[in-house]
Amino acid sequence: MRLPKLLAGLAVASVALAACGTSGGTGQTIKGTIKIGIDLPVSGSDASDGQPTQNGAKLAVKLAGKVCGASSHSDACFTLASFPLDDAVNGAHDPGQGAKNVQQFVADSAVLGMVGPFNSSVARAEMPIANTAGLAMISPANTNECLTQEPPDGHCAGQAAKLRPKGGNNYFRVCTTDLIQGPAAADYAYNKLGKKKVYVFNDQQTYGLGIAKNFAAQFAKDGGTVLNSDLGGFDPGSTNDFKNQINRAKSLGADVIFFGGTTATKGGQIRKQMLGLLDVPYVAGDGISGNQFAKDAGDNANNSYFTVAGPYPQKLSTAQQFNADYKKEYSQDVGAYSAQAYDAAKIIIAALGRAIDDAGGSMPTRDQVTAQVAKTQNYKGVIGTTSFDANGDTSLKIITIYKWASANDTGGTFVDQVTVS
């Protein structure tokens, strides 16, 4: 009785050993699981921006499946898993929630890199935590310039250094900054739309106020007039009442409105309330790139323009495979930042491969991964060729301009693309 049972037990054990020891008979060993954190706003008004972005990052992890050493330890592999979290609270992105999410990533020793966040205000809360833990983060969509650099005029007041309390850089992004995006929107409004007098609104958040300033500076430089030097700041959490400001814009003779902010900070409500009061074009940055904006703006959605800090995915030869994979997986077209998130995740995966080599084929440390992400040069991805500079900014400086046509518009219509070299 005893012997057969023991034999059976041995047989089972040896089969199990064989199963976990090798995979596919290529001599590769799965040594564990590495997780990639994804922090984006995927509920409420931000969902139409954040969900397609999250999908892009998840798709990269899913298609890769595992990561092995890049060259010297190509037999040492780890299963890849995504660890997605939502930083929206009560329908809008929330810096505090973002900070909590990053703490969760940091607490999980299998998380060696993260994709996100979407909003620059959230990035400000997350960066010090990730920096202290040495966790590499690549944002697909943060555009506020002060997160990474100190422009010559000093308007960032040393913020980038404060966001890195431990020193060293762990923050990267695959989109360009508002130093490019804001002026591109201004040039478009002044030169292409032929508008001379702008009235500006902004939500007073990191991104909204920053892009409004950059827009206004370039619009004035182009020869236009900025009608309100206060840039129309308001508190998005407490007001729906924009009609008095719209009236003010009208009495000052505005022929275009610029909005610095996001859909969740009432971008659509302002556009909607312009209906019947002020019939001029509406220009904003990538904060209104999700179709929730069109829904919120309703009957007045048309004639609204927005920029995206990246190329137009439908037009790119490098993106065709990605577009098809995405559509197959999610049964919908890619969003404005899906491809950026896909590339961000792929860059982390590539860096993981090199870091596994650095670690001699075992689980790399976060510092090893961060060091390899920083070394990313000429990475050929879906959106183009990405190299990171010392600040963590990308070499790829492309701005695409879109236009909303109606409340039912799903992704906006491409109107122009600007490449800055």
Binding site: S45, N228, G233, F234, D235, N240, R248, Q269, Q273, G276
Partner: protein, 303 residues
């Protein structure tokens, strides 16, 4: 001049909404000295009830001939349902505590506020929800100003409700019972006034007016969300104190004045949007310091 007139109309429109909410605060305070902090959320619920009725009746696509009776029906049903909600809240959360220390019903009011917000969040989600504007569009050109027809309707609806309320309180038996209860509850009871019923009616009317305010808010801003009641409730409460809490005419006046202040400050000053709240609440403090009873004087029980 044109800009002045534009802002004045906006201010009166916003003021009409604040006034309708403020009436609920002031009536309840007048009769049982409770600051009903749930009232802002009752306003939001009223707006949502209106929105639901509009979509059930399909009024967005209704022909003009059916629109007017449809809108009137929406107002009546939403006001009644919201009134019943107010009565139910009073029955459950305030009446059992009527003789408890003053702090107890205040806390249950805050609790009801959070409960209503939570339920709205669960039912309607966190998003801004689009609200159809069923009021006629277009504007009247008066030469020196053009006035939106929708704004005129909003102001007229609000004024009509306020006048009806005032007549009700001054002219009817129930109105007299309300005034008597406010003045001296025990004496009123001795004179045969049904106190519980009178207080319930007060809650009914206050909540019904809030529903009208909620629907008008939806028409005006064409958006609604679960957290709408918080700020609007506080501003309306300020209007009630400004006009003299417990004083129905004062609440209406306070609402209009605060609406006008907000839109003038917002429209005329750089950084106006932020200045609005600063100015409104500074004025509130000045009024309370130099005229603690508000503009028209408090009407509260003498104790």
């Amino acid at each position: 001049m044109r800009f002045f007139a534009d802002q004045l109309i906006l201010g009166l429109t916003d003021g009409a909404i604040f006034a309708l909410i403020a009436l609920g605060y002031t009536m309840v305070y007048g009769i049982i000295e409770l600051i009903n902090f749930a009232h802002g959320d009752i306003f939001t619920v009223g707006g949502f009830i209106g929105l639901t009725l509009i979509s059930i009746l399909g009024l967005q696509h209704a022909p003009p001939a059916l629109l007017i009776p449809g809108v009137i029906l929406v107002f009546l049903v939403a006001m009644s349902l919201n009134g019943l909600l107010g009565v139910a809240i009073e029955r459950v959360a305030y009446r059992p505590l009527r003789n408890a220390p003053r702090l107890a019903p205040l806390i249950t009011a805050v609790g009801i506020s959070f409960i209503l917000e939570g339920i709205l969040f669960l039912l309607k989600g966190p998003n801004q929800i689009s609200y159809p504007n069923l009021l006629p569009g277009g504007s009247l050109n008066l030469g020196f100003a053009s006035i939106g027809v929708g704004n005129v309707f909003i102001i007229l609806i609000a004024l009509g409700l306020m006048i009806a309320l005032n007549q009700f309180i001054q002219r009817t038996r129930v109105g007299r019972a309300m005034r008597a209860t406010a003045q001296d509850r025990d004496a009123a009871r001795l004179m045969g006034v049904n106190i519980n019923r009178t207080i319930a009616i007060t809650f009914f009317i206050g909540s019904a007016l809030a529903a009208a305010g909620g629907i008008i808010y939806g028409f005006d801003y064409q958006t609604i969300d679960f957290s709408l009641g918080f700020r609007n409730g506080l501003v309306a409460f300020t209007a009630a104190v400004f006009g003299g809490i417990g004083n129905v005419v004062g609440a209406a006046l306070g609402g209009f004045i605060i609406g006008i202040i907000i839109d003038f400050v917002g429209g005329y000053f750089q950084g106006g949007q932020q200045w609005s709240d600063v100015v409104v609440f500074s004025i509130l403090i000045l009024v309370l310091v130099f005229r603690p009873t508000g503009l028209l004087g408090m009407r509260v029980p003498e104790k």
